[in-house]
Each structure stands twice: as structure tokens, then as C-alpha cells.
């Protein structure tokens, strides 16, 4: 358990409560995404989960937002919104509530950046003005923070992409992206856990599976863990892939 009594000096913790359809509420912070803001959001999530009288279904953290889903038949007025506002204020004010219940881990993930796995490498190269080698070097030497899981089962939203690698999403999402594809979308980078449609520029692929529904721990990382990528060749990819297909345990990778 990590506990910090320290109050942030440069983080304005202003927030709004906004309806996200009729089954969800957003607690939105005006501060820019940061590790500190994510710590607050994860801490707030744990704090709200502890309120037994609150009938919520799910709390979905994001970079600057915590979405609360609920059964609208149980809250047919603004009472949930009011309660959440009070709780959030209380949490942010408390000096000892900025805590996390779990020690974050470092997870190393192999990525093959070779041509057959990187259909958008040239697009990213043209947009950023970097050579593919420079892109791979920058991408695999950074340390990334897991801000949240989302999009599809086990997908990790990572912070820490080098600004030189920022590249816009595709105009219309691709209808098929293979499982393990590593992409860049705007200022974000990440791995597609399953074959899905998606709008990011694909620059590589990992043989690791990010979502193992039959494992006792189906996900390789949790919010606030850190991720490091390391470059592997196509033949190394082909060596790892079958092992992962048969059995993958969190202990063997990294």
C-alpha cells in the first residue's frame, strides 16, 4: 500500500459532474492528464466503491474523468449526482485519503516493429518526419504509465508517449486490426488486445495476450502500473507466439 500525505502543489482539482446519457455520470477534472491526476482518480474510485449505500454498477477511470454507471430505475432524479459531488469534494479535501491499495508493477512487453506488423509505419514516419528506426528507438525506450483499462477487454491506456511520436488517428476507423497490434493515436500509444475495429496508426505487434478470460488474473496490468516495450525480431515473435497461445502466465512475461 502506497500512502502519500503530500498535497499536490501544481494540480488544480476542479471538477464538474456531467450526465453521460441516462445511465452514467462523469466526474470530470479540468486538470491536464498526469500521473498525479490518475492517482487521484484511482483513489477516488476506491473511496466511492467503499460507500455501501451508493447503488452504482461500475466506476470507469479515464485520464481526466471517472465515469459512474448505475441503474437509472434506482435514481430517477438528481440525487446520485448530488451525492457524488459531495463525496468527491470530501475526498479531495481529506489529507489522508490520497492513497492506493496496491503496489504498482513494472511490466515489460516484447514488440515486433518489422514491416509485416507495421502497416502504418510510413504514415507515422511521414507525419513525424522521423525514420522508422528513430520511431522504434523512441517508442521502445520510453516508460509508460497505465492510466486506465478500456476500449476493449484488457486494453491499456498509456501515458508517456514521446511528443515527437504524436500522430493523428485515422479519419475513419479501420474495420479490422489484429490482436496484439501496437498503435499510436494522437498523443497516445497502446496495444489492441483483440482483433477489433480501431482508429490508431499501427506501428508494430506483440505476441503477448493482454486479456486471458480463463486465467485467475485475466489482465496483465492495472491502472498506475508502468509498461516498457522492447523490440524483437519477426523470428523471436514467431517463437513467443505459440507459447502464448498455449499457456500464458503473468510470471513468465516479463
Amino acid at each position: 500500500m502506497i500512502s502519500t500525505q503530500e498535497k499536490p502543489r501544481f494540480l488544480k482539482l476542479e471538477f464538474d459532474i456531467i450526465a453521460n446519457g441516462d445511465c452514467a455520470l462523469d466526474i470530470r477534472f479540468s486538470a491536464e492528464p498526469s500521473e498525479l491526476l490518475s492517482r487521484y482518480i484511482i483513489g477516488l474510485r476506491q473511496y466511492i466503491l467503499k460507500q455501501d449505500d451508493l447503488k452504482v454498477i461500475d466506476l470507469i477511470p479515464a485520464y481526466q474523468c471517472l465515469t459512474i454507471t448505475f441503474d437509472p430505475l434506482l435514481y430517477l432524479d438528481e440525487s446520485l449526482s448530488r451525492e457524488v459531488k459531495t463525496l468527491t469534494k470530501k475526498f479531495l479535501k481529506a489529507t489522508n485519503s490520497h492513497f492506493l491499495e496496491r503496489e504498482p508493477c513494472v511490466i515489460r512487453i516484447p514488440v515486433c516493429y518489422e514491416n509485416s506488423f507495421a502497416p502504418d509505419m510510413l504514415t507515422v514516419s511521414e507525419y513525424t518526419g522521423l525514420t522508422p528506426e528513430e520511431i522504434i528507438e523512441l517508442h521502445s525506450t520510453s516508460v509508460y504509465l497505465v492510466h486506465m483499462l478500456g476500449f476493449s477487454p484488457g486494453f491499456l491506456y498509456l501515458g508517456g508517449l514521446d511528443p515527437k511520436l504524436h500522430c493523428p488517428r485515422k479519419e475513419a476507423p479501420r474495420l479490422h486490426i489484429p490482436a496484439g497490434a501496437v498503435g499510436i493515436g494522437g498523443g497516445q500509444t497502446g496495444i489492441y488486445p483483440q482483433a477489433t475495429p480501431g482508429g490508431w496508426q499501427i506501428i508494430g505487434q506483440t505476441p503477448i495476450k493482454l486479456f486471458q478470460p480463463y486465467n485467475t488474473s485475466p489482465f496483465i496490468a492495472q491502472p498506475l502500473d508502468t509498461i516498457e516495450f522492447y523490440s524483437i525480431s519477426e523470428s523471436e515473435f514467431n517463437d513467443i507466439a505459440p507459447q502464448v497461445q498455449c499457456k500464458y502466465s503473468k510470471e513468465s512475461y516479463p
Binding site: I18, A19, N20, G21, D22, C23, A24, D26, R28, R45, I57, D58, L59, I60, P61, A62, Y63, Q64, C65, T67, T69, P72, L73, L76, D77, M148, L149, G150, F151, S152, P153, G154, F155, Y157, R169, E171, A172, P173, L175, G185, P193, Q194, T196, P197, G199, F211, P213, Y214, P218, F219
Partner: protein, 325 residues
């Protein structure tokens, strides 16, 4: 005891209420695309409303039963026969061992549901037997049913006769007017675009699935407006029913297996009370949207819940009447 799928149909799968509460792991709720039809099938059989059902999409299966069991079919209307004799939907049907259930031509809607007075022996994964078709887990061997599959039962019971009056059965031939509330980024779109959105008759794209329902035409928001919105946009939990506007301006409704966090600005959000209607939208269907207030959305939901409860009582009464005949 099993159902033997001689022909599987285009996308037949085991579904229930899905997996609510796991969106923070990126796992969408999933489950029946039209949960109302699923509930009605279970209601008719006197089952728990969440008892797993078979969801049939677009082209139906040919099923042989290897045991006696009661079934009820709801949702999209297919030409359907039991041992070559036409059968009615929205009523309890007693099926005997060796009976053949055949779904042929689709008449209206998109997805039919077979409720069964049995416990399907498919294991629960992450709290549900629902098949997550996009991510490939849950249900029968993590996939849609294939030709030759057998879906086993561990338990069967006989349901009392029951039926739903024709006038109470959903009608999918009418063009749906889907009610929506403003989405989290509605304020970033101009008044003109908002009016265009409510005034347009959209067509459902053939590329729609359980993840998302794609619509055309584009509402052509200016590129500047979208870039500005995207730049300012705060990604947050994307609940089924969110209507996102990607850069090409063609709306995408996030559906039951949709991504759990949003990347594109959300102009509107389909109200919970109308969400089940999305499960019956077929390619090329026309739909339009009516923007209402959050307060009205709640009133509509409460009313709809009341009529569903009334329906449940009526089915129970109906059952009693049929038994005394």
C-alpha cells in the same frame, strides 16, 4: 439432453444479461442485443428473466431437440416451423424429443430469441454465460454456434402454457423514432448540426454489429468544429447508446459490445428505455432521432418498466386462463 444445431444460422449465440460492472477492465456489458425480447421469452416460460437464451441473427438455425423441453420464441419474426408445421411466436411451445425446429425467411426485425425451460450447461466466464462475439470469449466454446454443435442442458422443467396477446407483441415493421438525450460533447456542436441530426432520416449500414451501429449520411460538421471538439475532448466511459461523431461525420451508435471508453465526440445518447430497439435494426433500415430531456428519459423509462411489470402480470393471468380451459 441437448439442442443439436443441424444448421447454425448466420450468428446464433448464447446470451443473457451480460457482464455489467466490468467496464473498468474494458469489458463491455454485452449480453442480449434486444434484452426486452429476451425478458419476454423468459417471462412466458416463468423462468428467471436472466435465464440464458439463444440469440438468432438475420438467418436462423435448424435445430433438433434430443429431449422434451418447453420453449418460447420472441423478437424478430422469421417464418418458423416445428416438424414442418408453422408455429407462433410469443407463446409456450412444448417440444418433444426428436422434434425439428426450423427458421427460414426473416420477415421483420433482426434478432429472434429462443427461451428454454432448462439450464444450459455452458460454463460461466466472468459471471455470465453470454457470448462476447467481438472479443471471442464466453458462451459455447467462446464463439457463435456452428453447424453440428450440441448445446447441452443440465436440467429441464415443463413450463405452463402461456402466450402474449398479439396487440402487445412488439412490431418491428414501423420505422423507429429513437429517443436520445444530449451527449457529453453535445455543447461542442453548432445549433445547425444539432438540428440536422434530429431532422435527418439515417440509414443503418451493413457494417453494423453488436459493437456499433453505423449510420449514414454524414451530418457534415465542419472540420474545424470537430478538430476543436476532439482537441478539447475528455475521453470517458462510453456506455451503450452513445452516439459518436467521427471525423467523416457519419454517426456511430455504441452498442452492447462497444468499446468502453470514447475516442470521438458524443453528440447524443440513446435513452435506456429505447436501447433494446437497436437490437432489431437491420442493414438499410431507416431511423430518426428525437432529442428529449434527461427528465423525460427517466419518466419514459419508469413508464416502460411499469408496462413490463403489467405484462408480466397479464402473462400470469393468461396462463391461469389457459389452464382452466
Amino acid at each position: 439432453m441437448s439442442m443439436h444445431f443441424i444448421r447454425a444460422g448466420l450468428q446464433t449465440s448464447i446470451q443473457d444479461y451480460g457482464r455489467p460492472g466490468l467496464m473498468h477492465y474494458g469489458i463491455p456489458i454485452g449480453g442480449a442485443a434486444d434484452p426486452l425480447s429476451m425478458k419476454l421469452a423468459n417471462m412466458l416460460l416463468g423462468n428467471p428473466l436472466n435465464n440464458p437464451v439463444l440469440e438468432i441473427t438475420l438467418t436462423g438455425p435448424l435445430i433438433e431437440f434430443t429431449c422434451d423441453v418447453s420453449i418460447a420464441i420472441t423478437g424478430a419474426q422469421f417464418k418458423t416451423s416445428l416438424n414442418n408445421r408453422a408455429i407462433e411466436y410469443y407463446r409456450v411451445i412444448q417440444v418433444k424429443r426428436g422434434d425439428i425446429l426450423n427458421f427460414s425467411k426473416l420477415i421483420s426485425g433482426m434478432r429472434a430469441y429462443i427461451g428454454i425451460s432448462a439450464k444450459i450447461s455452458t460454463p460461466m466466464i466472468l459471471g455470465s454465460t453470454a457470448t462476447h462475439l467481438i472479443s471471442g470469449f464466453g458462451g459455447h466454446h467462446d464463439r457463435a454456434i456452428e453447424n453440428g454443435d450440441r448445446i447441452g442442458f443440465v436440467d429441464t422443467w415443463t413450463a405452463r402454457p402461456a402466450k402474449l396477446k398479439r396487440e402487445l407483441q412488439p412490431n418491428y415493421k414501423l420505422r423507429p423514432l429513437i429517443r436520445v438525450v444530449h451527449g457529453p460533447e453535445a455543447g461542442s456542436f453548432s445549433q445547425e448540426i444539432m438540428e440536422k441530426f434530429s431532422g435527418t432520416s439515417f440509414q443503418v449500414s451493413a457494417q453494423s454489429n453488436r459493437m456499433g451501429i453505423r449510420l449514414s449520411p454524414s451530418i457534415n460538421p465542419s472540420r474545424e468544429a470537430l478538430t476543436e471538439t476532439s482537441g478539447k475532448m475528455i475521453s470517458s466511459g462510453l456506455y451503450p447508446g452513445s452516439i459518436q461523431i467521427p471525423e467523416n461525420g457519419e454517426p456511430i451508435i455504441s452498442f452492447i459490445e462497444g468499446q468502453t471508453i470514447g475516442g470521438y465526440p458524443r453528440l447524443a445518447h440513446v435513452i435506456r428505455a429505447d436501447l433494446h430497439r437497436l437490437g432489431q435494426l437491420n442493414a438499410l433500415d431507416k431511423i430518426s432521432f428525437q432529442v428529449i430531456t434527461l427528465e423525460n428519459a427517466r419518466i419514459i423509462l419508469r413508464e416502460k418498466q411499469k408496462s413490463l411489470e403489467k405484462l408480466q402480470r397479464e402473462i400470469a393471468t393468461e396462463t391461469r386462463d389457459l389452464l382452466t380451459l
